[in-house]
Amino acid sequence: MAISSIDCAAALNRWRGRPLAEKTLITAGFLILALALPPWPGAALVGAVMLAVTFGGARVPPRHWLSVAVLPLGFLATGALTLLVQLGPDGFALAPGGAAAAAGLALRSFAAVICLLFLSFTTPAADLLSGLRRLGVPSEIVEIALLTYRFVFLLGDEAVAMTHAQRARLGHSTRRRWLRSTAMVIANLLPRAMDRARRMETGLAARGWQGEMRVIDDRPAASGAVLALILVAQAAVAALGVLL
């Protein structure tokens, strides 16, 4: 499951404790560079730097990263391929300059995806959400997002358990049975989610919940020096990308 491998990496990578501001600055800065610099060598450089940061700095396990990245990168690659050909009066033909355009588009979009994957693989969802709160997003919205996120895992576990139980009783042995069994799992998840929500409300109320989910945010503040260092690195990449 893609979301759980992102979640694991986000919780276990070496930079999990780094302040959110540093990681968002890295992501946003290099993302802008990937879009603004000429694809060669600018976007390529950005991509290379971000891969180094992801695997060398944050030590994200490459296997996890690859299993998630293959989908968007594959989608972008096939998208870029279509630039190679054009539909003329004689049917399909190679597009003039198509190879350069396809390579440029692929480089740019790969670099941008690598930037975004860095953020998702190094930052637990809760950190991102608490960042939203600090940016002034209403706490109700952040709380609902956080609870939804928590429930995705709880219900995911339940769905997996139910599916295993069905398989053990041959519920997936034919296509028809598979369809029927899967429909039953889906139908069962809703009442289970409701039950769980009700029990969770009891648990929250027992701890004095009055409609507001306040917790102490124990995340470190960003240091100015590190932020400045990131900006310097980005300026260097920008200069190289333009000058080379």
């Binding site: 027992a206 701890r207 102490i216």
Partner: protein, 281 residues
């Protein structure tokens, strides 16, 4: 002495279901540990939800310090500050992203400041032996760790009474033993414990008093030594005396444990007692 919590002729039924509680009487003595012992479906969990005001009796009364419970918003807040509840499934209780955040939830709801809340969280995590899980994501903990985090969340509110629904359910032997040791430590510090269980061994290890439940009523309530040695009574609700207690009584009958001496509550207690026995004794 006035019981800290009591139930008087409490009746309750869930909508559309048979009665869960039918004329329940119960007293919780301050500073003691009470096991609510009974088979599945006896109304044990429903009782716990009454003892912190989550459910309201259809008939009868719950009293806190001898006074009829106050179900106003303010009354419930005061009540839940003194009587904390730990649900059977810790996943129903942990909602925040990290252990630290989750445990900070209760103290903040008490209106405590950040410094005081931090101190309470650290203290609760240390008491449960999970200070190292401070920053861990709650959904990446093992069952035993989740349970401890959930108890820490309740304990950080400094309750007088801790209600626990099946505290060792779903834990492996090691996790259960650690948890029992922790709960014994809390009881020794004066926290009143009320826990539901169908495990007679757990009741004997942890409880000072036992209330025997069947069909939504407490059919007997007394000291653990009295209830748990009454074979006929226990068999009436489908239970048996704890093995440890059975062995200890056998040893006492043979003169190996002096009359009036405390009976062993844990296997280690029994081993210590056995160290003094002469072979062939």
């Amino acid at each position: 002495m006035t019981p800290i919590l009591s139930a008087e002729d409490v009746h309750f039924s869930f909508p559309g279901e048979v009665a869960a509680l039918r004329g329940l009487d119960l007293e919780v003595a301050a500073g003691r540990s009470l096991a609510i012992l009974g088979p599945n479906g006896a109304g044990k969990s429903t009782l716990l939800l009454h003892l912190n005001g989550t459910l309201r009796p259809g008939a009868g009364h719950i009293r806190l310090d001898g006074e009829t419970a106050d179900y106003s918003r303010k009354g419930l807040n005061r009540w839940r500050q003194r009587v904390a509840l730990v649900l059977q499934d810790a996943d129903d209780q942990l909602f925040a992203a990290t252990v630290f955040e989750d445990v900070s939830f209760g103290p903040l709801n008490l209106g405590l400041g950040e410094a005081e809340t931090r101190a309470r969280v650290e203290e609760a995590l240390a008491a449960l032996g999970i200070a190292d899980l401070h920053d861990r994501a709650t959904h990446m903990l093992s069952g035993g760790q989740k349970k401890r985090a959930a108890i820490a969340g309740a304990l950080a509110m400094h309750p007088d009474v801790l209600l626990l629904d099946e505290p060792t359910a779903g834990l492996d032997a090691e996790g259960a033993a650690q948890l029992v040791a922790t709960l014994r430590g809390l009881a020794a510090k004066g926290v009143t414990l009320v826990f539901t269980t169908h495990d007679v061994e757990l009741a004997w290890t942890l409880a000072d008093d036992v209330a025997l439940f069947r069909g939504g009523r407490a059919v007997a309530a007394s000291g653990a030594g009295t209830i748990l040695t009454d074979r006929a009574l226990l068999e009436g609700v489908g239970l048996r005396p704890p093995l440890l207690l059975d062995l200890a009584l056998h040893a006492r009958d043979r003169g190996l444990i002096a009359e009036g001496a405390p009976l062993p509550r844990t296997p280690d207690d029994l081993k210590r007692a056995m160290a003094g026995w002469r072979s062939g004794g």
